[in-house]
């Protein structure tokens, strides 16, 4: 097995509440783009939160590079190389763009190296360079999403998890977000993408995971998931209508 990350039958929920994830399973191969689809409320965001340690896992296992990582804190998991851009984008609204990027490299001890990488990322995203002194909270949705995604690149993570990067953005901007994601993939970063628009998400992905009611219904090569009649009927069709 060459899995980078394996999620094995995890059960998790919020506080003392009911199990939201009830046997979620997925395999993550290095360097590939994985797209998690499923209806609203299926537990897609919850799955990413469980993997990154923001939510306690009650049963089951998350294995990363052969090591069980459930039970670790989010900051510890992040230091192992798993970055997460949540749906809410998780910026520091009253810090400048540059300060936000610097926070992205918080774990780097070497200050000159940090500054070098911040500059490097700003070169790659001219909009961030242009707005480096602007407070993050005052930027548009697309710019904030760009910053949130670009910020993960400062530490060169192994895995980047993106929760609905297209949410609330105009189609043209959505394309930009997918471009950033594809660049990440080209650089060898493993991507876990949650996408409401299943059709669009799966087209960009190598691997598809279908989640419903906190359970993995199906996972396989993205093309097969796209073509599977059950899946088409269940999710893709309803998504087109929506």
């Amino acid at each position: 097995m060459t899995d980078l990350l394996t999620v094995k039958n995890i059960i998790a929920g919020y506080g003392n509440g009911p199990a939201i994830l009830d046997g979620a399973t997925m395999t993550v191969e290095p360097g590939k783009v994985h797209c998690i689809i499923g209806p609203n409320g299926a537990g897609k965001s919850t799955l990413l939160k469980a993997i990154c340690g923001m939510l306690a896992i009650r049963e089951g296992e998350v294995i990363y590079k052969g090591e069980t990582i459930n039970g670790l804190r989010p900051d510890q998991i992040m230091r192992k190389g798993i970055a997460f851009v949540p749906q809410e984008r998780a910026l520091f609204p009253k810090m400048t763009v540059r300060e936000n990027l610097r926070m992205g490299g918080f774990i780097l001890e070497d200050k000159t190296e940090l500054e070098r990488r911040v500059d490097e990322v700003m070169e790659r995203f001219p909009i961030l360079k242009e707005r480096r002194a602007q407070l993050a909270g005052t930027m548009s949705g697309g710019q904030q999403q760009t910053l949130a995604m670009a910020r993960t690149l400062i530490v060169k993570p192994e895995i980047v998890m993106l929760d609905e990067p297209s949410l609330g953005l105009a189609p043209k901007i959505v394309k930009e977000m997918f471009d950033i994601m594809n660049v990440m993939a080209q650089e060898g970063i493993t991507v876990l993408l949650v996408e409401q628009n299943a059709q669009m998400g799966l087209k960009q992905a190598d691997w598809g995971v279908v989640l419903d009611l906190g359970r993995t219904l199906f996972e396989g090569p993205a093309k097969e998931v796209l073509a599977d009649p059950r899946i088409q009927e269940l999710y893709l069709g309803s998504n087109k209508a929506a």
Binding site: G15, R73, P74, D75, F106
Partner: protein, 292 residues
């Protein structure tokens, strides 16, 4: 005219002291969402740390400033470990911490009263009884020193928060706890350290307070309302906001005291607290409060 300048200067000096008294409260609220009602009682504990060495051996209160800061910071760590770390896991965290800090305030007041009685105290180093004259204007040096030292300490804090790695982690945690954690910040550690700094600042403020105001264990009840007005006007958790609010309200209070009557001076803060909460709960500089 000189009278106006006189009142303004006194107001500003007082504003400096109130800034420092409010800064720790604001820091702790920002990072941990704890409204620490015990903060003023801990300031009074700091004042006693300056008082006894002065009374017994004539030690200059300013010499005790670093000592009180360190002792109170250590007490802060203890309090955090005993009380708040445990509560942080509770779903009713916010409500519980209000009650807990209230209880801590009562305990501190009781302990100080038990040990030192409720007699009014004040340290009176020579500078606390002197004044500088510039023309017709006189400035009590005690208040002037206290104001300047407060501003120096707050400036150091601001530089630390803005430019140091750990300071940035504190600011990040204040603005978005989850995001900070997702970028590798150990937010529990940030919590303890911020709490220690906050209570350490209470200790430092207490030392300055010891020669600016007469104090006794129950005095903190008056201060909590004053400090709350600063923190609320400043936008809950913004230290810069708290400082600006402290200067604004202190100057207004000084003018009210001079031209309307000394008893109305403190009322300025209480009235401000009330009006701000009604009219602009996010404060002057804050975002709309998150009701989460």
């Amino acid at each position: 005219m000189s009278n106006i300048i006189q009142v303004l200067i006194l107001g500003l000096a007082l504003g400096g002291v109130f800034s420092l008294m409010g800064a720790g409260l604001s820091l702790v609220f920002g990072v941990m969402r704890i409204v620490n009602l015990a903060h003023p009682s801990l300031i009074i504990a700091g004042a006693y740390i300056a008082y006894w060495p002065f009374k017994l051996w004539g030690v200059d209160p300013l010499v005790m400033l670093p000592v009180a800061t360190v002792i109170m910071a250590a007490i802060g760590v203890l309090l955090y470990k005993l009380v708040f770390e445990r509560e942080a896991k509770s779903a009713k965290y916010s409500e519980m911490t209000v009650l807990l800090t209230f209880a801590v305030a009562m305990i501190v007041e009781g302990a100080l009263g038990g040990m030192f009685t409720n007699t009014q105290r004040v340290t009176s180093p020579s500078y606390a009884t002197e004044a500088i004259f510039i023309g017709d204007i006189f400035i009590p040096t005690g208040q002037l020193y206290a104001g300047i030292i407060s501003i120096a300490i707050i400036s150091a804090l601001a530089l630390f928060l803005k430019y140091s790695r750990f300071g940035n982690a504190i600011r990040a945690t204040t603005q978005n706890r989850d995001a900070a954690q997702l970028l590798g910040v150990n937010v529990n550690l940030v919590g303890v350290v911020s709490f220690a700094i906050g209570i350490g600042l209470a200790g430092a403020a207490g030392v300055l307070v010891s020669f600016v105001f007469a104090f006794f264990p129950a005095k903190h009840w008056e201060w909590i309302a004053i400090l709350m007005s600063l923190v609320v006007l400043g936008g809950m958790g913004s230290i810069l906001g708290t400082v600006l609010a402290a200067f604004m309200l202190s100057v207004v209070a000084a003018f009210v005291g001079a031209y309307i009557g000394a008893t109305w001076s403190t009322m300025t803060f209480f009235l401000a607290l009330f009006i701000i909460l009604l009219v602009r709960p996010q404060g002057l500089f804050g975002e709309k409060p998150e009701l989460a």
